[in-house]
Symmetry: C2
Subunit: 475 residues, 2 copies
């Protein structure tokens, strides 16, 4: 997808030289081959172009870049691990890319305060490892964790599979360091859980997708490492039954219920059919499945999980269930879930949605959406799965068997209209965790409160009056 | 304390009539006697004045008030339960008061989504009761809960005694409805845990102390009601030992550790001496105490608490401890804690601070602050107590025995200088949970990051260009 909508004038060589001076020769790239990895992305869905990729090593260098860009009205695209799914990290119009990956220091870990201060370019998996090394948990966890960065996670307010108990990226950040469009540095790094000295600035930059400034460092919360993790794979009849199981689980396990994933039969089937070494954990087929996990600081997770499942079976909510007997089985359950997105590929074209509705409305949403999309495209196969505990469903749709993939994908916007109408009627969101980027930018004004859009525009104008920070994204 | 700093011209009678029309005769008060309860506050520390108190019943009425005020540049002071401690809710300069207490409907409770939508004027205790009636917990809990309101709690980002496990007010709000200075209504009410459609507007208004708009309703999170609550009163040698106990407790109890209060010997003494029916739970005196509580959805809290205390005793961290045997004993432990602020009164003048530092820095802070204030005022008696788990200490100081209270209180700013210097050096905050209001307004620019202050001013100018929303507060 090429999303060129405005033309940015070519960068004069004397400016390239000035930018080069800031980061050093080696870290200012102008060769097409060097630039290529920064202007495309894994799925090859978006392809941009850029005359210059800068790789700053410090907050001061980022500040100098922004100041220079501001003085000459040069547009910048901040980039972390380049794993975003909505084209937010791509220079669609020839902007300068500011890659944050060299800022990869863990500045401090404080185990008594349970905090960790990381630079923006620290890879999520590295942050998890740093925490584990001091017997702590950094719970943010998602598919791209091997390459995505803390800065990107915060800029896009990442969600993931542990949000149910630990929250989303926004909830994990105690403090931020941000370089503003004009090069000023906001030092709001803080280990404090309580600080009521003025307006909350931190949350303005979290989830802003790099359009208001560049996050250069963050202080995040650490948690006690759970000592017992227990995982169950459950067969049941419907999303409504899954919702009942969720309520029982929350009442019994409270904060120790760390994952609760709803999986449609067809999603499990695809995963078994196309995933390598993926097997069905249950002897019989069920219309719906739940993958649930408890993580406890004590050795009670197994007892609690067994009590939940026994109670749910007694009430005919659950039809069958198996608890992972060891780490290998647990990994196998999760592999089945993690393969789901990839397993749709061999089934042809797929139209994907990352929506959320109030938790209570998930069964109604799935029922209505299934009916609506099949009416729109007879034979289309809904493949819903996702984080029921957060009301966040990846409502994907595989093409009818034997249909033409391109024809099917051409209906993406028609499907959006139908699905988003239901989402909005139920009080939901068209982007639960992936953000807006360019992919949903033009739909945003249609679905969002009018005053909210006005305020967003005012904030953008206030913080980036020249419009140089990741232009054309979000708004 | 009269904080008149600017003169607001008298309100023309024809404008009073227009405001009166919006809310109805009965709810527009101009008589001094009717107005009195809205311009003073419980402690009689602040006394303001106002020509008009408005008591709107709906969001539409609040919007009409703001629109009219905006058209005629009339300053407004939003007010909830009038329990704030920093003068934020007082009309110091003859502003019109907008009392939100009539907007007291619970609009919806959704037990499957675990959400409750309340209007701003719902009293906190009523909100707790509504949640309890449907077998849920609304965990925000603080001294003023019998009169403070949800709108005020969110506007001041209240903390309280359960923040350790459940977070502060900010963490509990999923969505907001806000009337802006010009009368526009931002509808950001939402039950969604994940919604990445644009900038976070909610957190801009939470903690803004009514200076950016008036919160008229909120959707807050509910939690499973804990089935077992266990409370211990612990004697130990120092804040450093208390910090070790905190780490053990968090590792063993994780999210079920719901309170962890550090109490100085002298604070306990004052409470026993002056509180009615307050007794020492332990047979012998100890230099420091911890009041800790576990709340579990299952029946394991007692076992966990016993295991924590046994382990801490074995490591010589804890010298003595008693677990409440029943609800009466538990209430007695908490009464001892809750009386602490009041119990300072009979001891003469007291200078109070609501500070926070990184959790790990609390022992160092107390040691340094004790030395510094006693050096400044020989004989002054530090009475520190508070939420160690949040790094939030109410660092209070009672006057020297036999000294003149007025003389002592005249040193308030000198004491601030000494205490705040230590707080800032340790990376702390001069207002952990009470906010800025007028009390700390003039200190804020001294202690806050310069760019943060600049951004706060820009945000204020953007959202309230006429400066009519709670003028003179925060900034």
């Amino acid at each position: 997808m090429n999303v060129a909508q405005s033309t940015i004038p070519p960068l004069p060589p004397e400016l390239v030289a000035k930018f080069r001076q800031i980061v050093g020769d080696k870290y200012a790239m102008t060769d097409a081959a060097d630039i290529e990895p920064y202007v495309t992305e894994e799925r090859n869905l978006f392809h941009g172009r850029s005359p210059l990729v800068l790789r700053p090593a410090s907050t001061a260098e980022v500040a100098a870049i922004c100041k220079l860009a501001s003085e000459h009205k040069i547009a910048l695209v901040p980039q972390g691990g380049n794993t975003g799914l909505v084209g937010g990290q791509t220079p669609h119009n020839g902007e300068v890319v500011v890659s944050m990956r060299r800022m990869d220091r863990t500045r401090e870990i404080d185990t008594a305060s349970n905090t960790m201060t990381c630079e923006a370019g620290v890879v999520l998996q590295v942050a998890q490892q740093r925490a584990a090394e001091v017997d702590r948990l950094f719970p943010l966890s998602l598919g791209a964790e091997g390459s995505c960065t803390i800065g990107g996670n915060l800029s896009t307010n990442a969600g993931g599979t542990a949000a149910l108990a630990y929250g989303i990226a926004r909830d994990m950040a105690l403090g931020l360091e941000v370089v503003l469009a004009d090069g000023r540095v906001l030092n709001a790094l803080s280990k404090l859980k309580k600080d009521n000295t003025g307006y909350d600035l931190r949350n303005l930059f979290i989830g802003a997708e790099g359009t208001l400034g560049i996050i250069t460092a963050a202080t995040v919360k650490l948690f006690p490492k759970p000592h017992a993790v227990e995982t169950a794979f459950v067969g049941l009849k419907s999303p409504a039954q899954a919702l009942k199981l969720l309520t029982i689980s929350q009442n019994e396990a409270a904060g120790t219920l760390t994952s609760f994933e709803l999986l449609a039969h067809i999603a499990v089937d695809f995963s078994i059919r196309h995933g390598i070494g993926v097997r069905d954990p249950l002897p019989n087929k069920h219309p719906w499945y739940v993958l649930m996990e408890l993580s406890s600081p004590r050795n009670d997770a197994r007892d609690t999980l067994e009590a939940i499942l026994a109670s749910a079976m007694e009430q005919d909510i659950v039809d069958d269930a198996v608890i992972a007997a060891n780490l290998t089985q647990r990994s196998a359950f999760w592999k089945l879930r993690d393969e789901m997105s990839a397993a749709q590929k061999p089934e042809g074209g797929s139209i994907k949605h990352d929506i959320s509705v109030p938790v209570a409305a998930v069964p109604e949403f799935i029922e209505q959406a299934d009916a609506a999309v099949v009416k729109l495209i007879p034979g289309a196969r809904p493949v819903p799965f996702g984080h029921l505990g957060d009301g966040n469903i990846h409502y994907n749709l595989s093409q009818p068997i034997g249909a033409d993939a391109a024809d099917f994908l051409a209906r993406w916007h028609d499907v959006n209209d139908v699905v988003f109408e239901i989402v909005l009627r139920l009080g939901g969101s068209i982007s639960a965790e992936h953000g807006i980027g360019v992919l949903k930018r033009d739909e945003l004004p249609e679905v969002k409160d009018k005053v909210a859009i006005e305020l967003m525009r005012s904030i953008k104008a206030m913080l980036d009056p020249l419009g140089i920070m990741n232009p054309g994204k979000v708004l």
